[in-house]
Amino acid sequence: MAEAENRTTAAKTGAQDGFVFLPLIAGWLVPGAGHFILRKWGRGTLLAISIVCMFALGLAMQGRLYANAHDILEMLGLLGDLGSGLLYIAGRAMGLGSDSVQLTVADWGTRFIVVAGLLNIISAVDAHNIRTGRKL
């Protein structure tokens, strides 16, 4: 009961000040930034480390960054990659992950990059839920 009241209060407070989607957008663009904005330093740091490390390890394994959507699988891969926000844009700008390497490890790397993007979307939505008072 008290928890429900706290959430309602937080939701009302959250609705009153600032742009409610800021943690969601910031969290999508920079991993962990949504939680940092909400002063959840510990959670934000752990999320940022996990997502950035996963993305970086994917690139280190010569994983591929999807650049176009010729078929449904590539389209899904591109959507997953876009979840990484600025990491994906920076990677593309630096020409990383553009070579198609026929190695098992490179295939795992590609999956690491896609999953890093998907995990970043989950963490950005989590930041939004904290902002709206749906989560503590």
Binding site: L47, M61, V105, V115, L119, S123, D126
Partner: protein, 59 residues
């Protein structure tokens, strides 16, 4: 180039994914830790079980 073994890749994947799952799916730090540990053991455990199943099928 970073070239881990298959099992190392599984461990790394499980570690990062379960960290994010733990933080985002639970509310208190203790429950986050326990849920992260649960997800990690499920990731690694299911990979080991599936590996044995595929090994036995391939024989």
């Amino acid at each position: 180039m970073f070239s881990p073994s298959h099992f190392t890749a599984v461990l790394l994947f499980a570690l990062f994914a379960s960290t994010v799952f733990g933080i985002t799916q639970r509310e208190t730090p203790q429950r986050m830790f326990r849920y992260g540990l649960y997800c990690f053991s499920l990731f690694v455990g299911s990979a080991i079980v599936m590996s044995w199943v595929m090994y036995l099928i391939a024989r």
